[in-house]
Amino acid sequence: MAAARRRRDTMRRRWKAFSKGLHEFYIGPYRQTFLREKRDEDDMFMIAVLGEALGVPDPAAYYTAELMPAVWEDFHDWHRRIGIPRSPLDHIACC
């Protein structure tokens, strides 16, 4: 009984490892491309949310204002990435 359970556990572990390996084989070569794509999308989102604050007239500002706290955490990385060394906004003093 115990032996059968042990065998089943081993089989399950091996199957899991195989499945994980296959998954890695699938996504590995393109990991970088996807993460870059996601970053670009996030940057787009950041611009949409901060548009009004940066001086771009934004008819949806009333709605996006609510999302501002959600982007603060990534704000510093974002402004450095797009080539602005210091925070362009007075009310977010990240650096």
């Binding site: 890695e24 699938y26 393109y30």
Partner: protein, 575 residues
């Protein structure tokens, strides 16, 4: 029986190479150590630098380097007889490719995962890096033009491969959809994908698609080349998850299945079949067709991938080195990756020399230089599989043709994507921003222009194939010279790098010169190839001088202490 003996000798040499020679390299020459923190750990970012299990990394590395070239090269080169091709593939894999790929991986790992281009700037000089851009542009251009012709020839000679070839795109689209949109688990999706692909092969075999002599006002050759370029352009523009990623993946799985089928059929054929497969091709072909170039040096540039290939160094230092978990894994990933490709070449040689019934059959296929090629692989390998596994010859041939087409097509659309990046980069250097659509248009125009430069049959595409070998080997010499400079600086034995470097350089330079003379022959002068060849020759002389100077500097400089690598400051920003 001969096929099995050859297979055992070949696989035995690869095994010895891996177990003995690569052990020597890793212990005495590269002095691999698990104490060394690999770039994947040191610079971990979850994007480029990710420590990966060595078996999976080997899978990535192997499937990235194995395109159509290890099939095309040996299938053409056996025209000189099987022995030279067999020797160059086995000895080349063990002492040249293994050292080169393993060394490139080690060099890059010891330098924060920098690519060969950046390493050449560091060890040989900035001019080396500029040369690298020229070479890579030419290489990619050759790849897309030549592979368009290879695929076109296969689609015409094996009409049964038409449905599976284009159907594979559908399968890939569905796999991408199932994994990313429907979030289905990968294992069943893989099984269904591979089964669907093989079902398409059976369907294609039952319904061959032959394009009429004049279709939409074009010959079949012109039609397929244009369709392939349009497809390549679309594939290179689509988001990667839609087509490229699932297709590369299914192809990777297919590659392993194909290798098992090929070697398995030689084994079962000899052990169980009534007609034991035998080698019908001569060991040395004394009855060479007119116009066949001389064995030395052309053999050594005709079989590039499968013996030694500069392209592998790009993969080793481009992506593999950034994912290496422990330094000691580089022996398995780098050296055994080269062995994997050597096995594919060996399988090709066995198929094209043992798959024909009589020597006359073989001669009728190899009636001119460049004639045998992939079609011989498909035909010979098909017969071998029929004999060994009992699959009907036509079905086996379709399996192999689809395999070859899929490899070539993956390389072609990846090549188009990379060439597009190069065009965009060139645009940046001259100060204009080229968006992806015009850049793709430029790539398609240049590619089609080159393919049709010798006629509407696409002759221009394959006639530059020998130049591919020379350019590729030149890149291999560049990589080997970087390894040699590093070894000299560390006062370690540089001979394992210097010997293959000298041989490969001399042979590819010789081949380039002899081709140059051919291109100026009155009556059959070819000025396009002549100009490309001149660029290659100038580049090789340049590399040789730079490399010798760098080695002299390295010899005169004080020896590099063993822990120097740990102190190296990243030169990434500087470059």
């Amino acid at each position: 029986m001969g096929s099995l003996v050859l297979m055992i000798i070949g696989l035995g040499m690869f095994a010895l190479g891996f177990l003995v020679y690569s052990k020597y390299l890793s212990r005495r020459v590269f002095k691999l150590s698990d104490d060394f923190k690999s770039p994947a750990h040191e610079l971990y970012d979850g994007v480029d630098y990710v420590p990966t299990n060595k078996f999976i990394l080997w899978g990535h590395h192997f499937t990235s380097v194995a395109g159509a070239a290890p099939i095309v090269g040996p299938a053409i080169a056996v025209i000189w007889g099987w022995l030279p091709a067999f020797l160059w593939v086995t000895v080349g894999t063990v002492f040249f490719a293994g050292m080169h790929d393993f060394g490139a991986l080690w060099a890059s790992v010891r330098n924060k995962g920098l690519s060969i281009g950046a390493l050449s700037a560091r060890y040989i000089g900035k001019r080396g890096a500029n040369l690298f851009l020229v070479v890579i542009f030419l290489l990619m251009l050759m790849v897309i033009a030549a592979f368009a012709v290879v695929i076109k020839n296969l689609l015409i000679s094996t009409p049964a491969a038409v449905i599976p070839t284009w159907g594979a795109i559908g399968v890939a689209l569905l796999v991408g959809l199932a994994v990313y949109r429907l979030r289905w688990p990968l294992v069943p999706v893989t099984i269904v994908g591979v089964v669907a692909l093989y079902a398409l092969i059976v369907l294609g075999n039952a319904v061959p698609v032959v394009i009429p002599e004049s279709f939409l006002g074009m010959s079949p050759a012109t039609f397929w080349i244009i369709v392939l370029f349009v497809y390549g352009a679309m594939a290179s523009l689509l988001p990667v998850w839609v087509l490229l990623q699932p297709r590369d993946y299914i192809n990777g799985v297919q590659l392993f299945v194909g290798l098992i089928l090929l070697f398995g059929s030689v084994l079962t054929g000899v052990l169980f079949a009534a007609n034991k497969p035998d080698i019908v091709a001569p060991a040395f072909n004394t009855n060479l067709p007119d116009g066949t170039p001389s064995l030395v040096p052309l053999l050594f540039v005709t079989i590039a991938c499968g013996a030694i290939s500069g392209f592998h160094g790009m993969v080793s230092s481009g992506t593999s080195s950034k994912q290496l978990d422990k330094e000691k894994d580089s022996r398995f990933v780098g050296y055994f990756g080269a062995v994997g490709e050597g096995m594919l070449s060996l399988g090709t040689i066995l198929a094209v020399i043992g798959g024909f019934k009589t020597a006359a059959d073989w001669q009728s296929v190899y009636k001119a230089f460049g004639e045998g090629g992939v079609e011989a692989f498909v035909q010979g390998g098909g017969a071998l599989m029929e004999n060994g596994l009992g699959l009907p010859a036509s079905l086996s041939a379709t399996v192999l043709a689809t395999m070859a087409v899929l490899f070539a097509a993956t390389t072609m659309d990846t090549g188009m994507r990379l060439l597009r990046f190069v065009v965009q980069e060139i645009g940046q250097t001259v100060g204009t921003k080229i968006t992806k659509f015009p850049a793709t248009l430029v790539v398609v125009a240049v590619g089609i222009g080159l393919t049709f430069s010798q006629g509407l049959g696409g002759e221009g595409g394959l006639r530059i194939w020998p130049l591919f070998g020379t350019t590729n080997q030149l890149m291999a010499s560049l990589t080997l010279s970087i390894i040699a400079v590093m070894l000299i600086r560390k006062r370690r034995n540089p001979l394992p790098a210097l010997i293959p470097l000298t041989i490969v350089f001399v042979l590819s330079f010789w081949a380039a010169i002899s081709q140059l003379l051919d291109f100026t022959k009155p009556g059959q002068a070819d000025w396009l190839l002549f100009s490309l060849d001149v660029i290659i020759i100038v580049a090789s002389v340049w590399v040789a001088i730079e490399a010798v100077l760098a080695m002299r500097r390295a010899k005169l400089a004080p020896p590099e202490p063993d822990d120097e690598d740990a102190k190296i400051v990243a030169v990434r920003e500087e470059l």
